[in-house]
């Protein structure tokens, strides 16, 4: 069907072979849509899970095959046409549909269009970043190269102390490498967690033998014979390295949206129905900038979230919207990160908190940080404390209170506190 001479304006074209794209296609079918669905991506692989790339995959505990979302039979049975290795470079559309042109010249017609184009690693213009052994991590090719290089590397330097950087650092350290993390900010994971959680991760990684430099000013990457040899800091010192991972965040891919004339502002601007500014095209996942979906703070400001859960839930809403059904992206955002034997689970969005309460002793490596605003709980970072995570997530869903004054007593489960408190009226 993809080789038809002229592109018919039928069915749904989903651009982006990813978590959100697969979910959107599957949800369209679940909602009863019988029109053609084409899911198209640049990579050579059918859609696969990305979170394990910085974790299990590097340890050899996951393979390209084990990461695939669905079997070929699933896509065939559901008449979802998976197109790999095609990069869409141009789209035109009106209210009834349009055409997307790939770099190869192939043309894909559509009646409905979804952008699940994701994000790309933020590149930093550093001298020496073209040297062998310097990598970014976003896709399977990156991860495979990293895994190969890790086998022989002795000195690993990670530029960027965010989730990806710390996950890779923890894995490399556990396999006996000398590991240095260089973070430009005064604390780790500063974009996602509070100071208490940052401080814990700083100590926990140092306890495991990783060197962490905060306020680090990286001036260049140095090398010999085309391969990396070290990373130079502002004071002229050089951290030896035979492998450098740069993990300094991602940039949403907005070029197609811009070409379509859609509103773009730190991502593709969507409403709570995942609809972009043209009123027809939908967008979901890492590329979308949306009204705050958090139940406790619904519609207050705009956010762009980089998480599996957001991709999945927003894609479901986008599918419904494409079919003219009413659905709203309203949820309790949550996130996770596995670093060494530390399981971090985050429920809710902590931005705007006016109180932070510590539950448990960080030195025990099992504790939670609870965030409150005007006395009501809005989020929690839970370290090796799944029960706290689950309970806070539930409370944020139902609007039940977890009184800040009572949570410091770890002998009482949050669940018990929850049961004792009547549900609060939420705005």
């Amino acid at each position: 069907m993809s080789d038809r001479p002229s592109a018919q304006r039928r069915g749904t074209l989903i651009i982006g072979n990813c978590q959100a794209g697969v979910q959107l296609a599957a949800s369209l079918r679940e909602l009863g849509d019988t029109d053609p669905i084409v899911l198209i991506g640049e990579e050579a692989h059918p859609p696969y899970q990305r979170p394990p790339l910085s974790k299990a995959f590097l340890k050899g505990e996951a393979t390209a095959e084990s990461l695939t979302f669905r079997t070929p039979d699933f896509y065939a049975d559901h008449h979802i046409d998976i197109v790999t290795g095609e990069q869409i470079v141009q789209i035109s559309r009106d209210a009834r549909g349009g055409e997307a042109v790939a770099a190869s010249g192939r043309i894909f017609g559509f009646a409905r269009l979804a952008l699940t184009v994701g994000a790309r690693p933020r590149r930093i213009p550093l001298d020496g970043s073209e040297l062998g052994g310097v990598t970014y991590l976003r896709d399977l090719e990156d991860a495979a190269a990293l895994e190969r290089n890790l086998r022989t590397a002795k000195n690993v330097v990670v530029i960027g102390g965010g989730f990806i950087g710390l996950e890779v650092a923890a894995g490399a350290r556990a396999s006996g490498k000398t590991v240095t993390v260089l973070e430009a900010a005064p604390r780790l994971i500063g974009r996602a967690v509070s100071e208490a959680t940052s401080e814990f991760y700083l100590r926990a990684h140092r306890r495991r033998g990783t060197t962490i430099v905060l306020d680090a000013r990286v001036t260049r990457i140095v090398g010999a014979k085309g391969s990396v040899a070290g990373v130079e800091l502002g004071d002229g010192s050089i951290v030896p390295a035979d492998l450098v991972l740069i993990g300094v965040g991602v940039v949403p891919r907005t070029e197609l949206a811009e070409q379509l004339g859609l509103s773009v502002d730190n991502g593709i601007v969507v409403d709570s129905h995942a609809r972009t500014s043209d009123g027809f095209t939908v967008a979901a996942g890492d590329c979308a900038n949306m009204p705050n979906p958090s139940i406790t703070d619904f519609g207050n400001g705009r956010v762009r979230l980089e998480s599996v859960q957001n991709s999945v839930e927003q894609a479901k809403v986008a599918a419904a919207t494409l079919l003219g059904l009413d659905a709203e992206h309203r949820t309790v955002p949550w996130f996770w990160s596995d670093q060494a034997d530390l399981k971090l689970q985050i429920a809710g969005l902590s931005a705007g908190h006016d109180q932070v309460v510590l539950r448990g002793d960080p030195e025990s490596e099992k504790f939670s940080v609870l965030y409150y605003r005007d006395g009501g709980i809005i989020a929690a970072d839970c370290i090796n404390s799944p029960l706290d995570f689950i309970t806070v997530r539930q409370a944020l869903h139902t609007g039940q209170a977890i009184p800040a004054g009572l949570v410091t007593d770890t002998s009482v489960s949050l669940k018990k506190l929850l049961a004792a408190e009547p549900a609060l009226e939420r705005k």
């Binding site: 699933f74 999945v312 309970t391």
Partner: protein, 106 residues
Amino acid sequence: MPTITYIAQDDSEVTLDAQAGDSVMETAVRNGVPGIVAECGGSLSCATCHVFLCADSTAAFPPMEELEDDMLDGTAVDRQENSRLSCQLSLSDGVVARVRTPETQV
């Protein structure tokens, strides 16, 4: 080859041949069995792959560990005696097992 049957709320059944070593969750998700969400991909972080293990299948899997036990307190449909997180149910070769999926996972 392990064989796993998923029984939905309406008693409809899906039976699949699985790969030895895969979990009940992975097998369901890859084949698009409704009723199992598995947002975290099996890292014991989300409690959205909750199943009820049928009585004839208890012996096919090792008992649960503490983390799974804790997470089961947070499932969307309240846990029962036979509740498990299907990401923790690894299928050994030759196993024939049956699970029921709950009404909802989120």
